[in-house]
């Protein structure tokens, strides 16, 4: 086996001779959150240059609070997109769950924490319904969640009878995540903390458990995962249910953020969560990405909107910038994928 040694040596030398773009490519391939991290750094740096108020603790705290809802929902969206799926109904599920929480507590006088658990059950069941249609009826996720987006929205409006549960009517337990606490000169809501906890928990599970590995394997190549002995339908079902649960927690963050529960809130959440995930470097083709990237993606959007407002730019330019960012992120993903096939 003396042949083995030179073979390894040759290959290693070959590796070192790779061009800079090729090395960048494999680096980004390994750590897909690097490019959103760079974008975020550059954005923060540039925007603080244009406006002195931008980088103040007050403003950064405000950005964190603004990002909490989209950031939370993006956690669930990420694990779905990792399986090569998509959820267009995530915002509708969150709003539905928030109405269930607020209304059962206010009108049926259920204790706040029980109302909260009810909301969690509804959110998880809604996710399970998506999962059922995808794994058992074998419909594409895009179509399923387009349908359930309308269904959940309609159910929410029917249940709420068009009425908002106002700040004075919402159970105090349900408002908890809106309360502010201070770390030094930063003022953060409990909702931001809950969001960060969800990121930590899901990042851990994806990285250190077999379930996490199966999520990546299923998203990367579902037939290969099945042949390798993974129960892919069970993985998909659990992913949609866990995501539904996360959307229901987001409902809690949402109530705290808007200080009320309105059937008309959160319309933008469905697409904004996908934006955050994509800008965060997770591949829409499944199998590659990180939740941390999605947090960065949500922050990038928050920073752009906030910073461009402070710079006196019209809101249309913010939307334009976000659009360009999406195209940029997907191009980077394609570029990484191309080299590896």
């Amino acid at each position: 086996m003396t042949q083995t040694e030179p073979a390894v040596h040759d290959a290693a030398e070959f590796m070192d001779r790779r061009t800079f773009p090729a090395r960048m490519q494999s680096l980004l391939h390994r750590y897909p959150w690097i490019s959103p991290a760079l974008v975020l750094l550059i954005a923060v740096f540039t925007l603080s240059f244009f406006n002195q108020y931008f980088a103040t603790p007050n403003n950064l705290s405000l950005i964190a609070q603004q990002v909490a809802v989209v950031g939370s929902i993006a956690v669930g969206q990420t694990i779905i997109i990792l399986t090569a799926g998509i959820d267009l109904s995530c915002g509708a599920i969150a709003v539905f769950a928030s109405m269930v929480m607020a209304k059962t507590a206010f009108e049926n006088h259920v204790p706040g924490w029980i109302a909260f658990i009810l909301g969690l059950v509804v959110g998880t069941a809604a996710g399970g319904f998506n999962g059922y249609l995808i794994t058992k009826v074998k419909l594409p996720p895009f179509i399923v969640t387009l349908g359930t987006f309308n269904i959940f929205t309609a159910l929410t409006l029917l249940y709420a009878t068009g009425r908002t549960v106002r700040d004075t009517e919402v159970d105090p337990f349900l408002l908890k995540l809106g309360s502010i606490f201070s770390i030094g000169t930063f003022h953060i809501t409990v909702g931001v903390l809950v969001m960060l906890l969800m990121y930590a928990a899901v990042a851990f599970v994806l990285r250190y458990t077999a379930w996490g590995r199966h999520v990546y394997a299923t998203g990367g190549d579902i037939e290969a995962a099945r042949l390798a002995g993974i129960q892919v339908n069970r993985v998909l079902m659990s992913v949609y249910m866990v995501a539904g649960f996360i959307f229901a927690i987001t409902a809690w963050v949402l109530i705290g953020r808007v200080n009320a529960a309105s059937p008309n809130s959160g319309i933008d959440l469905n697409l904004d969560s996908i934006t955050a995930v994509v800008i965060g470097g997770t591949s829409l083709f499944g199998g590659r990405g990180t939740v941390v990237g999605s947090l960065l993606g949500a922050l990038i959007v928050g920073v752009f909107r906030n910073g461009l407002t402070l710079a006196g730019l019209d809101v249309y330019y913010q939307t334009l910038a976000v659009g360009l960012l999406i195209i940029f992120a997907v191009s980077v993903d394609q570029w990484i994928r191309r080299s590896k096939s």
Binding site: Q3, T209, R213, A217, A224
Partner: protein
């Protein structure tokens, strides 16, 4: 050592598998005896892959039965056959592109840490899995793989095939099924896999080897199962038949009679 006096370890009887209007298997049999290397040859689309997929539970046959050690088994999914020690390398390799080599070797049977970290937090024992994966790859003698933590999609086709073979070799305890395991391999790597097959036979492990490479088949096989149009056309041995004859049966140019002795040209 006549086949008739021994009992097959794995036997398929009258398997039928259709895909809509396409017939993949048309009442096909297969018998694998203890300690032998059974080559399965046949034209493209003859139903070789479909046959072994039915044996491994990757597909469920519409009709027919499968016996393992004389007992009827019904494999509904790949993990069912794996659970009883049948390992399969599929033609498509079935590796997870984004995961690294070690994760792929242990895909679907990950090791968890001992203690609370494993039982409560379900944490994986990456260290042990990496260590074992390294040993398995080294044992195969595929030296060009440098980093066990490398994503499989960054490997060459041959290296991927090596990973799939290493996975099967690591876990197979009863039967090994290899569907064209050397198709993408270089000469040296092909020889490594052939050596592995010989080693497995020396250990008494029965192997089913699908291959289009006739010299290879004649080198390692004890018996040759010839699949044609979804059926088993004949079973011959490298000692009694030549490559030309095997190819003749494969393509239908030659017919073999019941005793398996005399051949006559169809045309």
């Amino acid at each position: 050592m006549t086949a008739e006096t021994r009992k097959p370890i794995l036997e398929a009887k009258g398997l039928v598998k259709t895909f809509g209007r396409v017939v993949g298997l048309d009442v096909s049999d297969l018998a694998l005896y203890p300690g032998e290397v059974l080559a399965v040859v046949g034209d493209n689309g003859a139903g070789k892959s479909t046959l072994i997929k039915c044996l491994s539970g990757a597909e469920v046959a519409d009709e027919g039965e499968i016996e393992l050690d004389g007992e009827i088994v019904s494999f509904k999914r790949p993990q069912d056959s794996r659970a009883v020690g049948i390992e399969t390398v599929y033609q498509t390799l079935a590796v997870a592109p984004a995961l690294d080599i070690a994760s792929n070797l242990y895909l679907g049977r990950e090791l968890r840490r001992s203690g609370l970290l494993g039982s409560v937090f379900r944490m994986l024992d990456n260290k042990t899995m990496k260590q074992h994966a390294k040993e398995q790859i080294a044992a195969l003698g595929i030296g060009t793989i440098q980093n066990i933590g490398q994503a499989v999609e960054t490997l060459s086709g041959g290296q991927r095939q090596a990973v799939a073979v290493a996975r099967a070799a690591a876990f197979g305890s009863k039967v090994m099924i290899l569907d064209e395991p050397t198709a993408a391999l270089g000469v040296r790597e092909s020889n490594q896999v052939l050596k592995l097959i010989v080693k497995l036979r020396e250990r008494g492990m029965p192997v089913i080897l699908i291959s289009h490479n006739m010299p290879q088949v004649f080198e390692v096989a004890d018996r040759i199962h010839i699949q044609r149009l979804g059926k088993r056309a004949a079973v011959v041995t490298p000692l009694t038949h030549t490559m030309v004859e095997v190819v003749g049966i494969m393509t239908g140019a030659l017919k073999i009679d019941e005793s398996g002795q005399t051949l006559h040209s169809v045309r």
